[in-house]
Symmetry: C2
Subunit: 201 residues, 2 copies
Amino acid sequence: MKILIVGGNGTIGKKVSGHIGQNHEVVIAGRSSGDVTVDMADSGSIEAMFKTVGPVDAIVAIAGEAKWAPFDQMSEEDFYIGLKSKLMGQVNLVRIGQAFLTPGGSFTLTTGILADDPVDMTTSAAMVNGALHSFAKAVALELKDGQRINVVSPGLVEDAVEIYADYFPGHNPILMPKVINGYVKSILGKGGQVIRMYDNS
Amino acid sequence: MKILIVGGNGTIGKKVSGHIGQNHEVVIAGRSSGDVTVDMADSGSIEAMFKTVGPVDAIVAIAGEAKWAPFDQMSEEDFYIGLKSKLMGQVNLVRIGQAFLTPGGSFTLTTGILADDPVDMTTSAAMVNGALHSFAKAVALELKDGQRINVVSPGLVEDAVEIYADYFPGHNPILMPKVINGYVKSILGKGGQVIRMYDNS
């Protein structure tokens, strides 16, 4: 299989790329590095990326940003950072990517636990994640030729604990092998769903 | 109580306004009619509305639009109709409205069953509804002075059956007294949550 991983050099992305790359051809797209560069906030850039990469058997997004700030300091424009990048970036990846994804191929988007269990200062990030969960359910009704879509929604991931632990009081980290398995399930499995990987136990 | 109902002349809004207005002072805001006019897609218009209306004890949104179309006919701009109007319109209502809502006062936003159980051609509408569910959970962590937020998420509402029944095959209509009660619970109750009113029984 030929698999495009947008954000394949990021914190989660490099682990997923490394694992999947053992048995499959991985093409890494990144903002400033990788086999091809792409700006998730620019649909023209996404289109150019697909024209460069050509047909693929799986399209994975582990990319896109949203602003974290106290709600009473969030301007209208601040919200649009997440809407344009993490939300519409991933929507455009599906919208444009349909034509480049082989029959039965999979889309894998990335969100996170904030959609269901937000923490302080995440009005924008939570919103974007929740939007993608509902989008995926809706678009799954319309994808053609057996194309599938999953959303991987991890809790606080192990490799990001150092940066994010203070923002997620009491959240149990999700170990990287489990996070990787979410992507493996999406790409190599047959289903389409929101794959929640939370540890509240 | 003085209650601002944005969209108070719409299909759902007029029933809610009529019921609540029996015992409270209701100020209706609408796109082209009402006590005050407002364009939900324009934060400047929302700010002007609040300056005209002044302090209120409850802010209710039953307004905002999103485009319904097959996914493969949805342009990037088509998605922004819903993001600017129904999503950011309601977010801006909270963002700007905080300063005009009395302590303990409530925000009531409106979404719908598409967030959880979408139908054909609703990639944009489902996304917007899911975004608002997660936004409400996140912003509830940050509201001050006892301000509360609920989201009323009805299934196919009785008064819209004639227009929407064909789009919602097999969906049981939610009777108007139940729909109204969702808003009453939000405004007169003390809680803050996503109030789902679905009938899958």
